[in-house]
Amino acid sequence: MGLVRYIASRVGSYLVVLFVGLTVTFFLPRLLPSDPVEQYIYELQSQAGQTLSPDEMASLRETLSQIYGLEGSLFSQYLGYLERVVLHFDFGPSLSSFPTPVLEFIRRALPWTVGLLATSVLISWVIGNLVGLLAGFFHDSRGATVLEVLGVMLYPIPPYIVALVLIMLFAYIWPIFPLTTTIRPGPLTFEKIRTILYMSFLPALAIVMTRLGWNILSMKAVSFANKEEPYVTYARLKGTRPRTIMTGYVGRNSILPQITRLSLSLGAIFSGVVLIEILFSYPGLGLLMRVAAGTGDYNMMYGTIVITIFAVATAALAIDLLYPLFDPRIRYR
């Protein structure tokens, strides 16, 4: 029962990742030398420019401790945390925008991030793999070498550089696109959709360019190797048309390791998306994180981290579960 075992192991890893992720997020602040309550009070005071009386400070400390879930023993805190987060997705209220719950902000921001990420990754996946397949199949042609060089040059460029270059070129020098993303709330009209596409274009382009190099290079390498496989040679000897060989034989087999690699790199991809969101002030999770970091809004930060871990792990699981559709050797024993 190969398929059942495969699914079980994937779901198992998924749960382990979630568990470890949640636990690490829980222990992180408690292990570091700073005390979030004290830090908050300190910042409050330096911002407000006044000091609190000892009584006010004591009650503030107590309230904060409750909000942070710092009451009770470590173990009870842990259990309480798990219960709140896993069952209710309750991260408490945002500290800088008290009393709006963190979940509310996340709910607003998540669709943006998911939309941007899904679209850009899909585009770079399709284009990159197609180009890579062609480059690997026609390995000896000049075009393939050009594509390889292109891939090599794109790959090491970090996302923030791509974002900066795009901003410089298309928001400053030739100001076609806006510097920051401003989208007015309101109903989803056709006009609004156009605005969204317009604002999202540069960040999406940045993500696509960042991922394209990797897709092209890895697909080219796999395709080139698979081209030498006996079943490809045999297909040729049967008189199969080159196009069928490229798609049905090389392509179908080369896409398999690519799917696995995609699932593994989702963490890295998400990191890149976060960075790009921040640089473009795109209203997604990334911006929430950055703002929370700046204002010391711990609830917001942990909320976004947990959601991130959850989203990335779930997406990876989804990809892993789709894999058997492409590889019959896993589907049937």
Binding site: E229, P230, L237, G239, T240, N253, L256
Partner: protein, 321 residues
């Protein structure tokens, strides 16, 4: 008949060029099973590729050519002024009039595509009519396979079944010529026998030409009508297999046959000492001379020619004069 005109076939590698077939000149009759035997690296697979017309880089025809007729259309490939010239596009005939069963049959099937799709994806649209699948199923059953086999993926079938599928694919259009490269390697003896019997049946029924390459003399003993023995890119003996097995002319053939086990014979089998010469070096004289018990000074300097010593029985050896 298939005419081999002094073929010299070369491989281009990073180390340079090497002639894998060096001057093979003979006529292969049609309607027979021809066995090609010899050690690894003697050029038998390359010869097969040349006959099939699979002259793709790094393999090239440096000299000579091949000639035969398929379906009343002549096919000739030869080298004129260093350039390879083909009279008709052999690729149009591939698998319809001339078939090839490759060496690593185990992994020659696309692992992620169903067998039935691999059966048809090399056909033109006009051949791919709706009832072709039914015909394929029938044909496959006649080869001792369950009809559901073609709905499966390659990894779901056993090695023997996969080999039968390969034979089925290669013979479906009843080709005139079938080239089989080591069709029984990596199969156990019982399965081997099945495949060989299958090939014999097909040949008897379709009366086509089958050229089988194998380093296993036992295989040739069972089914070949004619035998071609190759050594170090040269043809050293050619004739009816009965003659070759009962009264071999070339010392190498004698040693090959003596290494065959016989039931009831308790004597130790003799292997052949030494190894074939490296084709990278400049070779003079008879290439078998270093290992030959009958070698003389003449053998070291002058290459023997393939001469008809008895009717229909050719050999290349100085000792036969």
């Amino acid at each position: 008949m298939i005419r081999l005109n002094n073929i010299v076939a070369t491989y281009t590698t990073v180390r340079g060029q090497v002639d894998a077939v060096d001057g093979v000149d003979l006529t292969i009759p049609r309607g027979k099973i021809v066995g090609v035997a010899g050690e690894s690296g003697c050029g038998k697979t390359t010869l097969l590729k040349v006959i099939y017309g699979d002259l793709i880089y790094p393999l090239a025809l440096r000299q000579g050519g091949v000639e035969y007729e398929i379906d009343n259309v002549g096919y000739r490939v030869e080298t004129k002024n260093g350039r390879q010239v083909t009279t008709s596009n052999i690729k149009d005939f591939w698998f319809k009039h001339i078939s090839y069963i490759p060496q690593s049959s185990m992994s020659s099937l696309n692992p992620v595509v169903r067998i039935r799709k691999q059966f048809v994806d090399f056909m033109d649209a006009e051949q791919r009519k709706a009832n072709v699948l039914e015909e394929i199923r029938e044909y496959v059953t006649s080869l001792d396979l369950p009809p559901e086999a073609i709905d499966a993926y390659p990894h779901q079938l056993s090695g023997g079944m996969r080999q039968r599928i390969m034979v089925a694919m290669a013979t479906f259009f009843k080709p005139d010529i079938i080239l089989a490269d080591e069709p029984t390697t990596a199969l156990d003896v019982v399965v081997q026998k099945g495949i060989l019997l299958l090939l014999m049946d097909i040949q008897a029924e379709m009366n086509n030409t089958i050229i089988i390459v194998s380093h296993d003399m036992g295989v040739h003993y069972q089914i070949a009508h004619k035998m071609l023995i190759m050594y170090a890119a040269k043809a050293v003996e050619f004739g009816d297999s009965e003659d070759v097995f009962k009264a071999p002319l070339h010392p190498y053939t004698k040693m090959l046959i003596e290494s065959l086990p016989t039931i009831g014979d308790d004597q130790m089998r003799k292997g052949i000492a030494g190894r074939p010469p490296s084709l990278w070096e400049d070779l003079h004289g008879c290439r078998f001379a270093p290992r030959c018990p009958l070698a003389t000074e003449l053998c070291q300097t002058q290459e023997p020619e393939l001469i008809e010593h008895k009717p229909g029985h050719f050999a290349a050896c100085h000792s036969l004069r």
